[in-house]
Amino acid sequence: MYNEKVMDHFCNPRNVGEMEDADGVGQVGNPVCGDVLRLAIKVKDGRIEEARFMTFGCGAAIATSSVLTEMVKGMSLEEAMEVTNRMVAGALGGLPPVKMHCSNLAADALQKAIEDYKGRLLRQEAV
C-alpha cells in the first residue's frame, strides 16, 4: 500500500524526539482520524536550523512527519509557511488517496510551530 520511500521514513524516521531548547513548538491533532503530531523547530537568522517530531499515528503520519523535518531544514520562515500537505506527500513520492489527509498533520504542525516562534519573539520584544 505504501511506496518504498514512505516505508523507509516509517522504518527509519529522521529527527525523532523532543527538543529541549526549541524556539517554536506546534502540536496538532488530526480531526479526521484522531492522530497527533508535535513538531519542534530551532530557528537561526530567520531560517529553520533543525526540526524534530513526535507522532502518534499511522504509517503515513510518521513518514510525513519524518520527511517534513528533512524538507524544512534550511528554509526561511517565509518559505516554510508556504509548505503544503501536497508538497509533503510529494516529497515521499505520493501517498495512497485515503492517506492524503495524514499529510495535513505535518503541514499544520509546521505552521503552528512557526506561529509559536513568532509569538515568542513578539513577547520577548514587548519585555
Binding site: 505504501y2 522504518c11 524526539g17 492522530d35 497527533v36 502518534f56 504509517g59 503520519a61 485515503v98
Partner: protein, 390 residues
C-alpha cells in the same frame, strides 16, 4: 524470516481436503445440478451431501439450509427477506450496536429507504447484549431480532440461547450471524432457539464466495433476488457447486475436529494474551471468558494500530486493528466504541486471531517481537509519558 498468520477472523487458509473435493467438482463432476441427465444428477448428489454436512454442523435439517455467496448475502437475505415478508405485521427491527456491517448497513437501508424503524441495542463493557434489553425493546410491530453469535473483532460470545428464548416467547423471528462462531465453537440451532443463522465458508477453512443461511422450517422469508427456482425458490441462480461442496467438506471437518481444534487454539490464545499483556499499559478488549477460543484483542496505550500492524508485518506477522487509520472510513471500530472505549484506546487496538495450524513457536515468536515494537513506537509518541500514566 518466520511468517505467522494471526488473522483467521478475516479469513482462513483452505484445507487440502477441501481443495481436493472442489477440484473434483470442477474437472470431473462439472454438471449443472438442475439438469436431469447423469452429469447433472452427480453434481446434485454432491451438493445435497454438502447440505447435510452443513446442516449437521449446526444441528439443522438439510432442507433448512440455503446456499448463498457468503456471510454478507446471508445477512442481507435474512434481514431484508424477513422484514419484507412480514411487512403486514410491522416495521420494527431490533439489532445490536456491534453487528457486522452486513447487518448494520442493511438495517440502515431499510430505515432510510423503506420506512422501517430499527433499535440498535447497546452492549456493556465486555461487548455483551443484555437479553432483558431485547425483551424491553420488543413491540407489537417487531418483525425481527438479529444479534450475532460471536463478535468478529473482540470475540465476545453472546448469551444467545437466552435471547432466543425471549424472542420465542414474544413470537418474534430471531436471526443470528454466526459467521465467526460456526466451525469455531459448537453451535446448535435448537439450543439457541434461532430461526435463521448466517454461515460463511472461508472463516472455517473453506473457500471464499460461498456461505449458507439456515432457515427454520415455517419461517416467513422473501427472496432478495429473482430468477430460477433454485434452492426451493429461496435463492435463484445456478448453484456454485465447487464452492458448495468445499463448504460441505469444511463443515464436515470442523465438526469432526471440533474438540481438538478448540482446545489447541484456546491454549495458544491464553498464552498469547498473557504474553501480550506483559507489556505495561495494555489491556484486553472483550469478554475474558465468554470469548471465541481463537480471539485476542488488546489495546496498547499511546500507540496507533496501523503503525503496529506495519511493524508486525515487517516481522512476518499478519494481524489486524480497529484503528481509524486502517479502516478506510477513518472512524475507529464501531464495536470498540460501542463497548465504551475512547478513541485513543480503539485507535491502539490489535486483534490477533489464531488458527489450529498455529503453533506454540508462532505464539512465542509474536510475544518476543511485540515489546520491541511497542517500545519503538512509544518512544516516538507525543502521548507517552514515562513513569506517569495518563
Amino acid at each position: 524470516m518466520r511468517r505467522v498468520y494471526l488473522d483467521h477472523a478475516a479469513t482462513t487458509p483452505v484445507r487440502k481436503e477441501v481443495v481436493d473435493v472442489m477440484t473434483r467438482y470442477m474437472l470431473d463432476v462439472f454438471g449443472n445440478p438442475s439438469s436431469i441427465h447423469q452429469f447433472g444428477r452427480e453434481a446434485r448428489k454432491g451438493m445435497e451431501e454438502a447440505r447435510e454436512h452443513v446442516a449437521s454442523l449446526v444441528g439443522a435439517q438439510p432442507e433448512e439450509i440455503v446456499f448463498t455467496s457468503g456471510g454478507t448475502e446471508s445477512d442481507n437475505m435474512a434481514v431484508r427477506g424477513v422484514a419484507e415478508a412480514l411487512e403486514k405485521k410491522g416495521n420494527h427491527i431490533i439489532t445490536s450496536a456491534i453487528e457486522h456491517h452486513a447487518i448494520l448497513h442493511t438495517c440502515e437501508y431499510l430505515e432510510k429507504h423503506r420506512g422501517y424503524e430499527v433499535t440498535y441495542l447497546p452492549v456493556d463493557y465486555f461487548g455483551m447484549v443484555s437479553p432483558d434489553d431485547v425483551r424491553a425493546a420488543i413491540r407489537p410491530s417487531t418483525v425481527l431480532v438479529t444479534v450475532m453469535m460471536a463478535n468478529n473483532e473482540v470475540g465476545t460470545i453472546q448469551r444467545l440461547a437466552e435471547i432466543g428464548l425471549v424472542c420465542r416467547e414474544a413470537e418474534v423471528t430471531f436471526h443470528s450471524d454466526a459467521v465467526q462462531a460456526a466451525g469455531a465453537i459448537p453451535v446448535d440451532v435448537e439450543d439457541l432457539a434461532v430461526d435463521l443463522m448466517s454461515l460463511s465458508g472461508h472463516k472455517m477453512y473453506g473457500p471464499k464466495g460461498v456461505g449458507a443461511l439456515y432457515i427454520r422450517k415455517g419461517t416467513k422469508i422473501r427472496p432478495i433476488a429473482y430468477g430460477g427456482a433454485h434452492e426451493k425458490q429461496r435463492r435463484p441462480g445456478t448453484e456454485g457447486v465447487p464452492g458448495i461442496v468445499g463448504l460441505g467438506e469444511a463443515a464436515r471437518l470442523a465438526r469432526a475436529e471440533m474438540d481438538s481444534r478448540v482446545s489447541h487454539v484456546r491454549y495458544l490464545r491464553d498464552r498469547l494474551i498473557s504474553g501480550l499483556l506483559e507489556v505495561e499499559e495494555t489491556r484486553l478488549n472483550g469478554h475474558p471468558s465468554h470469548r471465541l477460543p481463537n480471539n485476542s484483542n488488546v489495546s496498547v496505550a499511546y500507540v496507533e494500530g496501523e503503525s503496529m500492524l506495519l511493524n508486525l508485518d515487517m516481522a512476518g506477522i499478519g494481524c489486524s486493528s480497529g484503528s481509524a487509520c486502517t479502516s478506510g472510513s477513518l472512524e475507529p471500530s464501531h464495536v470498540l466504541l460501542a463497548m465504551g472505549l475512547d478513541h485513543e484506546e480503539a485507535h491502539g487496538s490489535l486483534r490477533m486471531t489464531l488458527g489450529y495450524e498455529n503453533t506454540v513457536e508462532d505464539v512465542d515468536y509474536v510475544i518476543g517481537v511485540f515489546p520491541g515494537i511497542v517500545k519503538r513506537l512509544r518512544e516516538m509518541s507525543p502521548l507517552a509519558r514515562k513513569g506517569e500514566p495518563r
